[in-house]
Amino acid sequence: MASLTHLQRLEAESIQIFREAVSESEKPVMLYSVGKDSSVMLHLAMKAFYPSVPPFPLLHVDTTWKFQAMYEFRDRTAQKLGIELLVHQNPDCIQKGINPFDHGSAVHTDMWKTEGLKQALEKWGFDLAFGGARRDEEKSRAKERVFSIRSAQHRWDPKSQRPELWRLYNARKQPGESVRVFPLSNWTELDVWQYIHREQIEIVPLYFAAPRPVVERDGTLIMVDDDRMPVEPDEITMRSVRFRTLGCYPLTGAIESEADTLTGIIQEMLLTTSSERQGRVIDHDSTGSMEKKKQEGYF
């Protein structure tokens, strides 16, 4: 038999990580962000436990500011796969009406996502959470462990991270501590797209180019997904755009593109030379900002 391809090896490794994490935790959960990495992660989880259904629910830490198409996709996917979906929206944010326009991206992200995630993990008592982060996304993630220990305050302490040898993961923790597990650690963006292609994994239509109403802010194209976004008269134009990453619509830059098929997207991605996280407003603050956010508990 021919040796395994890189996608087969990555798949097998991710499945091994899933099974190990589930066996060594009391109450696991998968953080589901509805993006393409989440879709791949969920696909791998379905494979890891087949013919059983994954023995954990999905958790969406919602900000109320995601694209409508994401909410539709999320609910349909959970129903189709027969897997429990939990949604948490930070009640403090609802009460204070936290939004990216009045409070800025930093406060918005911190309150809805970072605080919201902590609340959700505590509310349901999860001791292990799967996340879709990859080591190739950003320089500070190159050293992230597959099993990453978080303190009872959900902080990431570089000194308390454990060496990971062979396929042996140490998921033991003190009461109150939790573990984040990243099954896609060794995948690159290209691997993810190739795998979506090979496995015919369904992703949110926003990844494909289509005429969409956009405005230009600070050189970034923002899609006007609902009437909560303040716009000038005649500011909105229809352009053929798609998204490389998905998040809160006011914070997610679109790129102009005609690629409306999966192969078209991959082709365009390989021929252009902008790295993926550039579309996310959060990273631009300062060098090393992701590292700081991670220490504070951002996923």
Partner: protein
């Protein structure tokens, strides 16, 4: 390399994807220091494989001008030096994983620092690598660190080494220099058993022989660095080994399906194959190899599958499915290499958790037979192992586990040790072989047993373990308890520091390691005495929870009674009958519990005595007697024994 590809990419994306979805993967480690140009090399690999994006490149250009070491030219090293802390220090302080790919392979690079104190990181990075790239500065030749890197590579079972003789541009691309270094290295590599070595003359900075053969080295006709990495064959040997699959998870969606999920870590398996379940030794036949993409006719090493068996045999997580004709061994005592990875030194005799495959058991490590100087490879005597030290030790487990020697199968012979209280991963280990005595030492089934002896004594044997600070009053109370028991006609024995330290343990001092060994011996002696039917009183400071737990674990359930003599530090110090606290405060006595060595209070002692002075020692002793009565140790209940 990439140009022809780009044409295909632009003209026929389907064909391009078809080709790229059939690439293989290679994991390798790079060893060398910043001085050897390691970061520059990795940066160049990323750059040349077009994985450096425009925005990264912009950052690189501005960083190169700001902090670069190449006089404003692109400093590739800046692409890979990650965490803010290390950027400031200018060194790499952890294992970083990088990714790049060519048209033939995807690569995962474990980027590890070369400094001596970071053996831990290199061992971690090497544990998953199939190939090692060892860098040498052509101006300096084979250095101590080269030997160290090569030894660790060999220890961790990497069989393929590329020696990159770098910075050749700085020695005028001298063939003579290259061959001299190559000859010296090959001689050394043969000594440590490294077989497959390829040497490449390189300038990572200028790009010579990285992806294309360089006109500067016309005398060299071997592969380029990338050429080697793209073609080196590493996987086949694992498929030829006997089948092994540690069971991770029992897959039981309903009453009709029962499968065992795991990753194949050795050999291949087919429906119809006979497998042995270890450690139980039962056998069965494979009926199905289940995956979400349909049943397989064959599963090979590296695949994650779910296996169904013909018989209703008992299989759970931690078991290993193995080829019935050549099963793995099963044992509970081993010799192993241990690489210590924690700041806190190894404590021989202390129980740690050991994770091997999918099984976690309790293990104690004996005092090292020797430790290995990673620079000279000399063996020296050692009582313990400290951070980044490597030694050979015997290790004993609380129950038997399936295993293969590490040299035969990394996943069946590589283990980690976990601290039972902090849960930190404190060591990595590589099994050599099982010790014979695991088979040879059998407890004789004695006809006169513990129950019989206890019945004769009219008591249930117990170990009363008095713990507390020096001066808390442990021995005072224990003495009174023993007198009272004696008056009632009970058979007792009191073990304390005075009668043990002067004889059995007179070779031990007061370091943490010696304290652990002290308690281990006391606990073993106490166990024999309990077996003899006695009520044993042990009075020791015993500051560490783990040693008290060890003593508890040695005895049968209910026999261990922990008595916490709780005075508080202030009261104990104010008593200071032997003047020890005063000495410790003056710094004349080191490792003194409560002063410069910690006392870990019992969390759930059976008896908690107030020894602050408000209760007399006499009354405290009565509390202990009362507990023994209530717990049935000394009440002559019929049928109790």
């Amino acid at each position: 390399m990439a140009h022809a590809q780009n044409d295909l990419l632009a003209t026929d994306i389907e064909a391009y994807l078809e080709q790229h979805e059939h690439k293989s993967m290679l994991r390798f480690i790079t060893c060398g220091s910043v001085d050897d140009g390691k970061s520059t090399l990795i940066g160049r690999l990323l750059y040349d494989s077009k994985l450096v994006f425009e925005d990264h490149l912009a950052a690189l250009e501005s960083d190169s001008k700001k902090v670069g070491t190449q006089g404003g030219e692109l400093d590739f090293a800046l692409l890979v030096d990650g965490l803010a802390a290390e950027r400031e220090q200018g060194i790499t302080i952890d294992v970083a994983y990088r990714f790049f790919s060519t048209e033939r392979r995807k690569f995962i690079v474990a980027d590890t620092p070369g400094h001596e104190q970071y053996t831990r990181n290199m061992v971690t990075g090497a544990s998953t690598a199939e190939v090692a790239v060892i860098l040498i500065d052509a101006r300096k030749g084979v250095l101590t660190q080269t030997r160290r890197h090569s030894y660790l590579v060999s220890l961790l079972g990497i069989r393929h080494v590329l020696l990159a003789i770098n910075k050749l541009d700085l020695v005028d691309y001298s063939e003579e220099v290259f061959h001299r270094i190559e000859a010296e290295y090959r001689a050394f590599a043969a000594e440590i058993g490294l077989e497959h070595i390829v040497c490449v003359p390189l300038s990572a900075l200028k790009g010579d022989n990285v992806t294309e053969l360089s006109p500067n080295t016309p005398w060299y006709d071997g592969p380029t660095l990338i050429g080697y990495l793209e073609t080196v064959e590493v996987e086949r040997d694992l498929d030829e080994k006997p089948f092994r699959m540690p069971v991770q998870w029992v897959n039981r969606p309903d009453l009709d399906f029962r499968g065992f999920s795991g990753e194949v870590v050795g050999g291949t398996v087919h429906p119809g194959d006979r497998v042995r379940i270890l450690p139980s030794g039962r056998e069965s036949d494979v009926t199905r190899i289940v995956t979400a993409d349909g049943d397989l006719d064959e599963a090979v090493t590296g695949q994650s599958v779910t296996i169904c068996l013909a018989d209703e045999v008992d299989v759970s997580r931690g078991d290993v499915l193995a080829a019935a004709q050549s099963p793995a061994g099963v044992a509970d005592q081993f010799e192993a290499h241990i690489v210590w990875m924690a700041e806190e030194e190894m404590l021989p005799g202390r129980p740690y958790l050991l994770k091997l495959g999918t099984r976690t058991v309790t293990a104690t490590v004996a005092q090292p037979k020797y430790k290995v100087n990673v620079n000279t490879l000399e063996h020296t005597a050692a009582r313990t192992l400290e951070l980044n030290e490597i030694g050979v030790c015997n290790i004993s487990l609380d129950r038997p586990v399936p295993f293969d020697a590490y040299v035969d199968n990394r996943d069946m012979g590589g283990f980690i040790l976990i601290d039972r209280f902090t849960n930190a991963t404190v060591a990595a280990g590589l099994l050599h072989f099982a010790l014979r005595r695991a088979d040879n030492v059998h407890w004789q089934a004695l006809e006169v047993d513990k129950g019989a002896r206890a019945a004769l004594n009219g008591q249930r044997p117990a170990l009363l373990w008095f713990t507390g600070l020096s001066g808390a009053g442990k021995s005072t109370i224990a003495n009174i308890v023993e007198q009272k028991l004696h008056e009632q006609g009970r058979h007792t024995y009191l073990l304390d520091g005075d009668n043990v330290r002067h004889g059995l343990n007179k070779d031990l001092g007061f370091t943490d390691a010696d304290r652990v060994e002290n308690i281990r011996r006391v606990a073993e002696v106490a166990k024999l005495m309990v077996d003899a039917g006695l009520i044993v009183l042990a009075s020791f400071i015993s500051p560490f929870r783990s040693e008290r737990r060890m003593a508890r674990d040695l005895l049968d359930d209910g026999e261990f009674v922990e008595v916490f003599v709780d005075s508080g530090l202030d009261v104990a110090e104010s008593r200071d009958r032997k003047g020890l606290y005063a000495k410790a405060r003056r710094g004349e006595l080191v490792n003194f519990t409560g002063i410069d060595s910690p006392y870990e209070e019992p969390e759930h002692p059976e008896i908690h005595l107030d020894a602050s002075g408000s209760v007399s020692a006499e009354d405290a002793a009565d509390q202990v007697i009362e507990h023994l009565r209530q717990a049935g140790f000394i009440a002559p209940l019929a049928g109790d024994i």
